[in-house]
């Protein structure tokens, strides 16, 4: 028996996660993502490989979506939508003007779901966690609008399709075991990374496997670290985005950030933090709220309108999916009801005195953050804290080189006298985290997905050499087949069963002479008493070719019988 893994997406690349696994005849599709950087047929996984006839309902048992989106950066520049390649992934940046919020969906784990279910016609069950189910329709709808209304592309699916698709979704909770059908069992484990992200354990018969999706092994302020039980796995499919990076403790960076902010506000300066709506804003705000609380600071913190309000609503509802810290403090206060955050009004921009302002969008690419930057940058006691990477072409990017002047357009020049501080963090696990997870789970085989090829190769070597576990990194549309565990059924004799219920060792008193002759199970013990492990179990094949397990006492009897028969 074997487990066959067909990689439809994220094989030796980042994005478009889609893996179809066949365990003991059950086929499960893990994630159904799309490539955001391509607009032709390569955008979607090649579903025809699952079933050339298009009969997906018989070909697939279910679809499991591990999480919704990758928090990543978003880019807005003068109402244009751009597709820019950042290091390893192609990301779509969009700006929805009417809603005033920035959507940073990076639908590489679920983008193709609606297309697959509604257009290609899959009617089987779809599993995802509660937060993912809650946020998925919003994200998909957002994305559809961007694609159709703004980019003017051909409509792949409509709003009704999204609604229809969501009806097929079954929400699961953490560590809830779901019996998909008679043989297939799935269970979700917490994965950190983003709100609602989960690793999925699937079991068919005696074969077990885990698909991790994206995960984080180090907790941050608002999300916890991945948590899973020690399982007997035949296969582990893990992401490998940062297959070669080892990250240092983020505390040092946090400390520098807080020091810089504190220094600035205590000198009466203003702090501008340009961020996007989800994830990072909450993370930073919790960090600062704590610090304010501890240091008894009274300097106001503002959120520009709309930025995080909607996101905070979801976070507040889904406390169970956040970090231990937030869960700990939940009985007394909800960590997302930030104590030190004051109501934002436009007048605060000109109010004298220190303050901290979170303004959208990140990278100071327009909107409020650019407006505030224009006003505050000429003052020496202002601090601009850039949480994360800034794309070339944005003010944030220019600012990182600390120029004396920034020219926005021929008519607008800004004198830059403010201080600049950069803070970077990623919700993906690093290579040490991947290794630690593999070490903890000790699976029989590992398949790497969602990573760049050279990094995967080096990680694969490392896993193989350090842990001796066979490891694979298939490209898209390749299939890897690994052997799976099969337990053989055998009948057990009554005597054997009886012995099993008792401890499988006995005490044996022996003289010192005997001692030298006997093979000792444990040389350490005191001569007069020996522990003898009674492990001797015989498996006999009887006449009807069935296996039978008997105790060694019985073997002698059976052999005796045979002799007389002969």
């Amino acid at each position: 028996m074997a487990i066959e893994t067909l990689v439809l997406g994220a094989g030796q690349e980042v994005g478009k996660s889609c893996v179809v696994v066949n365990i003991n005849g059950k086929r499960i599709m893990f994630d159904c993502g799309m490539h955001m950087g391509v607009s032709d047929h390569r955008r979607y996984p090649n579903f025809s490989l699952i079933s050339p006839t298009g009969d997906f309902d018989t070909a697939l048992s279910c679809i499991i979506i591990t999480h919704l989106y990758c928090i990543n950066t978003l880019f807005l520049r003068f109402h244009y939508f751009l597709i820019i390649k950042i290091s390893h992934s192609l990301i779509l940046y969009s700006y929805i003007f009417f809603f005033g919020i920035i959507c940073d969906s990076h639908l590489d784990h679920l983008g193709a779901l609606v297309y697959f279910t509604e257009v290609c016609g899959f009617h089987g069950p779809i599993y995802m966690t509660y937060p993912t189910k809650a946020l998925a329709p919003l994200m998909l709808e957002d994305y559809r609008k961007v694609l159709v209304e703004r980019r003017g592309e051909e409509e792949q699916f409509n709003s009704d399709h999204i609604a229809e698709c969501m009806k097929k979704v079954i929400a699961v909770d953490l560590r809830q075991t779901i019996q998909v059908d008679k043989d297939l069992q799935i269970r979700a484990y917490y994965a950190g990374h983003v709100l609602g992200a989960a690793m999925f354990h699937a079991k068919v018969g005696d074969s077990e496997m885990v698909y991790t999706g994206d995960y984080n092994m180090t907790p941050d302020r608002h999300l916890g670290a991945a948590q899973i039980d020690r399982l007997r796995l035949d296969l582990l499919i893990t992401e490998s985005t940062y297959g070669t990076t080892i990250r240092d403790s983020k505390y040092a960076r946090e400390r520098e950030f807080l020091d810089a902010v504190h220094k600035c506000v205590s000198a009466g300066g203003k702090v501008l933090i340009p961020t996007f709506g989800l994830g990072r804003a909450q993370e930073l705000c919790i960090l600062m709220d704590d610090y304010w609380e501890r240091m008894n600071l009274k300097v106001p913190i503002y959120f520009s309108a709309g930025l995080t309000k909607q996101a905070n609503v979801y976070y507040k509802m889904l406390i169970n999916w956040t970090s231990q810290k937030i869960k700990d403090s939940y009985p007394t206060n909800n960590a997302f009801d930030f104590k030190n955050v004051c109501k934002y009004e436009r007048s605060v921009l000109d109010t004298p005195g220190p303050c901290v302002l979170f303004a959208s969008p990140g990278m100071i690419s327009g909107g409020l953050s650019l407006e505030v930057f224009k006003r505050w940058a000429p003052f020496e006691n202002t601090l601009v804290a850039l949480p994360g990477y800034c794309l070339p072409g944005t003010v944030g990017h220019v600012l990182m080189s600390k120029p004396p002047k920034i020219e926005l357009d021929p008519n607008t020049k800004i004198d830059v006298r403010c201080q600049v501080h950069q803070l970077a963090f990623s919700p993906h696990t690093d290579s040490k985290g991947i290794m630690d997870l593999i070490k903890f789970l000790s699976p029989k085989h590992v398949i790497l997905v969602h990573g760049e090829k050279p990094k995967m190769v080096s990680l694969k070597e490392k896993i193989h050499s350090e842990m001796g576990i066979p490891c694979y990194h298939p490209a898209n549309n390749e299939t890897v087949s690994v052997p799976s565990t099969v337990y053989v059924k055998a009948q057990a004799s009554d005597a054997f069963m009886e012995r099993c219920l008792k401890p499988n060792f006995k005490l044996h008193k022996c003289s010192s002479q005997e001692l030298s002759i006997k093979t000792l199970t444990d040389k350490n013990i005191v001569p007069e008493l020996q522990v003898i492990n009674e492990k001797a179990v015989f498996i006999v094949e009887d006449k009807s070719k069935k296996l039978k397990v008997v105790h060694n006492d019985e073997v002698l009897v059976m052999l005796g019988e045979k002799k007389t028969e002969d």
């Binding site: 180090t218 240092d248 401890p503 005490l507």
Partner: protein, 948 residues
Amino acid sequence: MLCCSVNFLFLCFFLQNNTPESIQPISMQTFTSMMNEILNPSTPKSTVSSIFKTLIHSLLHSPESHHSQILKLIADLSSHHPSLAQLALDSLQSMLPQLTDPPSQLTIEYLDALVNISERPVEVDDSLFTSICLAASFPVRLWMVRNSGCRVMVRPELLYPVLMGMTKEPYPCLREEALEALVRLGECAVFEEVSLVKGCYERGVQLLSDNEDCVRISAVRVLYVFQVALWGLMLASFNVDTKTYWSNEVFAMLCSVVRDMNMKVRVEVFNGLGKMEIVSKELLMQSLSKRVLVLDQSPTEQFVLLASNVAGALVHGVEDEFFEVRKSVCQSLRTLTVLSVEFAHAALNLLMDVLNDYKVEVRFQALETMHHMAINHCLELQENYMHKFLDVLEDNSSEVRFSARKIVRLMKLRNHLLFKSTMDVLLKNLDSYPQDEADIFSVLSHLGRNHKQFVDLIANEIADEVEASFEGNREFNSARMAALLVLSISAPFLNADVCPIPPVIFSFAATFLSRICCAFSDVMNRDTLLEYLIQKSSSMVQPEVNISNGEGQNPLAKDDVQNVAGNEMIHSEITINNGEGQLPLSKYNVQNVALEMKPPNDVGQHKRPVHDSVVLTYINYILVKLPNIWPKVQSCSANEVLCSLRHWKEELTSLTFDSSAPADASAFALLYLKIIKLVVEVWDHLVRKTEVVSGTVELEDKLEKLDGRAKELMNRFIGFSAEEEISVLELILLTYTLRLCRSEICSRNFIFKRMTIIYLRTESFLKLRSDVASGFVAELGSLIRESSNGGASCSSLAFDNCLKLFSPKRLMIREGIRHRRAELSIPNNCPDYPLPFAPGLTASIPCDITIHNISSNCRAWVRMCINDGFTQHVYLDLQSFEVSGEVRKISYAVPYYRTPELDSFNLKVCIGLESLFENVTPVQAHGGPKCELVLLCEEKIVYLSRVL
């Protein structure tokens, strides 16, 4: 009430009719009434005993299903009526054998009742134990494993193999309980064979990868308990290399599970790491870095194997999501930082991060760890950390603030700016947390005492502010004023003559007396503080004082030092100094001459007499406290005591002197304190038999050091009063007793001999003064008299008992103590300008030697050592020295005969005095000194270079 009496009647009826012959099963109702009677304290004894009898009888006759209730009643009855407990035990024990074949749930119920009734662990024989452990029923086995080694006593020889077998059980909770039982076994340290311990350890390692969380937790515990056990065993074999090797193994093994997904496992792992006793520095450093380190020198084979397991273990711990884990990491750092100074410095970075933690518990623990590091001299707060650290002083949790201030007390700041910012933060603290006032004042007083030079720099600033406020020119912030005053008056506390603090400050401070006296409670009480303040401020009010009458200037000294021979002498001695400038001449010889020399009436010079006597007072003030801290040593607050001792030591070291008398007294007190400190350090391990953090090798070192110090105390000071002499002798007896306590020491007889000599001396002294010997000396005396063949016959236990009787005497020192010391200088010699020599020919080493307080009948030597261990002694003829008082000087070219065939070499030169005190073993037979040498100065290195 009615119900109760009905019950009682019913019960009486039951008891009367239920004779052994006609026994009936007991109904539920009867059980309840019996229970009532048992619980009721006024039930007559006869009823209780008849209930007891009935219960025992019914055990024999009622169906088994009733037994558990009956047993429960018997257990309750025995706990409420202890007089029946023994009877119950005997009856149950007699019934037990009938129930053991095969053992069932009922057997366990009987055993459980037995265990509940008995106050001591119940002993179970081998056959019963094995039959229960091999029983088919799982709960029966579980009960036995759970209770073995604590409530049920089994022979360890039997228990060990059974438990080892049980660790392979298919039931997780049995595996867990078996491991826990092994832990209990390991903690009792019953193992005497390394292989047994190793076997257990290896099983622990196997079960670290168990699928069940509870088993993994216990496996971690097995690992570190057995690491200790293993260590203890290897200690006996004195194999340091193996010890380190195994400790490293265990450390790495524990580190390899820090990423376990179960929080409790992780907590347990860090608890275990906190119990490590030796870990190599490289591995410790590796635990702070997630990347595998590239070492400067080629790494050991073990490091290469273990590095990836250890990598970043502590960092992961600090980053953990659960505060329990983070707290445990901080706790483990307490022990780990002691193991390596370099690691301690690196780990501080981690601790600084933890100070940002959102949980108070974690921040507090981090600070406690830093405090522990400070006590152990491994905390070095660099400037870039100071900023963060000062932030913590403003934390909104009071525990955290107190803990941070505890560290400030011990701090030695490097520069003025840091001092200023620390002071500012503390003053700000006072505004934001007025409830902490007392603690802040106390910290400020420590800060002032530790940083006199910085206080001096801002003294005028403070004085201006205080004066302006007192005169109403500024807003009067009383807390701030009090704080500034505390800081100012604490600085010149011991250093009056260099004090630029205007005397008026002391007058102001006196008005705040009750508010600020708590800040000085560790060194003086309220009255002493007042006198100190009055005396300091009086120099302003009474600039002209008649010195010769010796009144009025020194209330503190006068009050506290009753034993000082009299103010007359103090003043006469000081006048010499005034008259002759800074010449460090001895006061004693020229005392009378000096009296005739009238000192000029000058305020600046007035301060000196005050100063010197204050020093002596202060020294006495410290010494007087020693008996008071002793109970703390005997309990378990050694760290606290060490901290005070270290503080006093630092205070004494920081004193400056104009004349030799207080300098000698202070040298004596310093050495006395050093000895006491060493005693305290070894006390914990030797007397209270606790674990040593720093290892046995260091303990041995400390004992060695103690020995050296004791010798120094005996030989380098003269002029003791009888009382002082007895104190010193007693202390020396103590150091010998401590050495004898260590049973491993082979040279027992030798030490015992030396101790006997000192004891006889003490005894004769006591007889002379017709004093009564202290409990310690008396006990030691009887021990010495009892032992016929030297110390070998006495058990270390006997010495232990002596030690428990010891407490330091109340010691007040006087002026008479003189310090025998020497100053040696080799002019014009440094690595760049070596002295010339020709191999094989005698080299001459020009030495300028000054010796103090050594009479001409002593035998002094110059000792010269070369690196290969060869030592040459040259006799110093004291008669040929140029004498001025107690000081003798000579410039002398010392010959060195054995010049080697080398281009250059170094010689360690120093002056030594033959110790006539305890001439037990002659050191060198020919040529050199006949007795052991006591060194009078530091060794000087002489550089020699070949000329030919």
